[in-house]
């Protein structure tokens, strides 16, 4: 049952083969058994989850079920959920209980889904290994000595270890796709503006986007049907017609043009990861796709540009944590300035402070043009590369991460090495495009993700492209031995 697709679970619930209470309890029992080791969840409220499951069962019995009614979902702890601890992985918000629901949370509530708990993450989503979390690292279910990736590391481990039916994540520079690659499941970052950011704790507002993390493309499509949609409370939410993301899943791939950017297969990519990705591309050829070589000449600049724009936006967004209205306040201080400075010194972790300092520096008087404005101009060049590329192909494919999961502690003291983890994902955020990672095989027993990048609003097509691959292969069905 823990391996069943959302569609199957939904059918089992409809057929009364199982109740939502039983399903929820099954996952809660697994969490009890495995979470002390894996640390995927930072907050559970079993009574509340079970109460939601009971309500879902009543709704199903009344014949009013929606596709995800009664399905237990893990929520990344970046989403405010009313009455739930919402920590964003930070000491600053360690005791914060959200007074309202994020749009994503209320969408799942309206769908009748069960909130199984809040998942661990890098502090304020800043990290690629989940090691910056105030609540400790998360273990990769495939190898407990390795990281799950980040920042959505808790959701990633929860999906991979089957501690939920599906989970939510957010992706500012790769935080859904990189952990999906490292933990071996399917994750989608939608086009910027498709999922509302209301109630999602802000990191870099022009890049942040929420998306599904699940066992298959089909499951991601069902999650997208709940998560996506216009919300007037997010000023960058796009007012578009509601879509059915499952509509194209079964289309054949005959004639699909896949672009392979030569920059994605150059220096920096682990040879074995590259081989797995090329094997996946070969499988697509069998399914009728054509391969074209493309170029994204400015991809190498995406990391420098990101590490100006994201810290700049973060330094502004995180100025709200001042110890006055909510969150942590230092216990001892002399005056207001001292209270601010101590609160922020004690409440934020090292990586968050570093990024705030970088952001403050690049935005400070005299440096704005040389850094922030310059980065915004190169951002356009990077986005333009994709416009040119999509004239030659329907989707772009490549690795989602340069290597498989690395050892805990390996990169924690070297921010620049950690930042290179996002070499293939960041440009997609800068351009605002949708991207996903799909399990494509293994290297030395560790999962490798294939990244699929689509044009703006092409999520349904990408899900189709991923689904057809998952019909022809079974990489997405693999799960860590010993956790079955």
């Amino acid at each position: 049952m823990i391996n069943s697709s959302l569609q199957t679970l939904s059918q089992m619930l409809a057929d009364k083969q199982i109740s939502s209470v039983e399903l929820t309890q099954t996952f809660l029992d697994r969490i009890d058994a495995l979470n002390p080791e894996i640390n995927a969840y930072v907050a559970l409220d079993k009574e509340r989850s079970i109460a939601q499951a009971k309500a879902a069962d009543a709704r199903i019995a009344a014949g009013q079920a929606a596709p995800l009614t009664g399905i237990p979902i893990a929520q990344k702890d970046i989403f405010c959920a009313k009455g739930w601890p919402t920590t964003c992985g930070s000491k600053m918000l360690a005791h914060f209980v959200a007074p309202y629901d994020a749009h994503v949370i209320s969408q799942f509530d309206a769908a009748g889904a069960v909130n199984l708990g809040k998942t661990n993450m890098d502090e304020f989503a800043m990290g690629s290994s989940n090691e910056t979390s105030y609540f400790g690292g998360v273990k990769n279910p495939w190898d407990f000595t390795r990281v799950p990736g980040g920042s959505s590391g808790g959701s990633a481990a929860a999906v991979a270890a089957r501690l939920c039916a599906a989970a939510t994540g957010t992706d500012t520079g790769g935080s859904i796709r990189q952990p999906a690659s490292l933990c071996g499941f399917t994750g989608l970052k939608p086009t910027y503006g498709v999922v509302s950011r209301y109630g999602m704790i802000a990191f870099a507002s022009s890049l942040d986007q929420a998306g599904p993390m699940a066992k298959s493309a089909e499951d991601c499509a069902l999650m997208m049907n709940v998560m996506a949609g216009f919300d007037e409370r997010d000023s960058t939410s796009l007012n578009r017609k509601k879509e059915d993301y499952t509509r194209d899943l079964n289309k054949p791939l005959q004639g699909l043009k896949i672009g392979l950017p030569k920059e994605y297969f150059a220096e920096g990519l682990d040879i074995n990861v590259g081989k797995v990705v090329m094997d996946a591309v070969a499988e697509y050829k069998k399914l009728g796709a054509e391969i074209v070589e493309i170029s994204l000449p400015n991809n190498g600049l995406s990391i420098p540009v990101y590490y100006v724009l994201a810290p700049a936006e973060a330094s502004s967004n995180l100025s709200r944590y001042d110890g006055v209205r909510y969150g942590y306040r230092t216990p001892e201080y002399t005056d207001l300035m001292d209270m601010y400075c101590k609160t922020r010194a004690e409440g934020f972790g090292a990586e968050v402070k570093r990024r705030i300092l970088v952001g403050t520096y690049v935005l400070s008087a005299g440096y704005y043009d040389a850094y922030y404005l310059k980065a915004q101009k190169i951002r356009r060049l990077i986005a333009q590369d994709f416009v040119e590329a999509f004239k030659q192909c329907d989707v772009i494919m490549g690795p989602a991460a340069p290597s498989t999961a690395f050892k805990s502690g390996e990169k924690v003291d070297d921010p620049v090495a950690m930042y290179l983890e996002d070499l293939y994902t960041i440009a997609v955020n800068l351009a605002g495009l949708p991207g996903m990672s799909v399990p494509a095989g293994f290297s030395n027993g560790l999962p490798v993700g294939l990244q699929i990048i689509g044009n703006y609003f092409d999520e349904a097509r990408m899900l189709n492209v991923a689904h057809q691959y998952q019909q022809a292969t079974d990489w997405h069905l693999k799960m860590p031995e010993g956790l079955a």
């Binding site: 007037e232 420098p304 209205r325 209270m339 101009k377 070297d414 620049v416």
Partner: protein
């Protein structure tokens, strides 16, 4: 460009983050690494390129000027931090947030 620990302290003050002398030194090393990475941008010719802040060509929406949210002040103030300096009371009073006195 080369930064000094004095620069770090100045930036940290702008960001309202206290740094000790030893923190400033270790922060300096890591920040120099990050700024070195960023410096690669300077080699790119961006003459005539429009800066990009958003991927979609959209404008700010307008709406009618009407009340659309209830007043949740009490709920919001329930999660105020505690006063500090020995007091565990919430730092609120009659709908206001309490901070240290700034005017003598």
């Amino acid at each position: 460009m080369a930064l000094t620990t004095e620069d770090i302290k100045k930036i940290a003050h702008l960001a309202r983050i206290e740094v000790s002398d030893s923190d400033a030194t270790s922060t300096l090393t890591k920040l120099m690494g990050i700024l070195g990475l960023i410096e690669q941008m300077q080699a790119v010719d961006t003459t005539g390129i429009e800066p990009m802040s958003h991927s979609q060509d959209v404008v700010q929406r307008l709406r009618e000027d009407e009340v659309c949210k209830p007043n949740l002040r009490e709920a919001f103030q329930k999660i105020a931090p505690t006063l500090g300096n020995g007091s565990h009371e919430a730092a609120v009073d009659q709908g206001l947030y309490l901070v240290p006195k700034v005017i003598e």
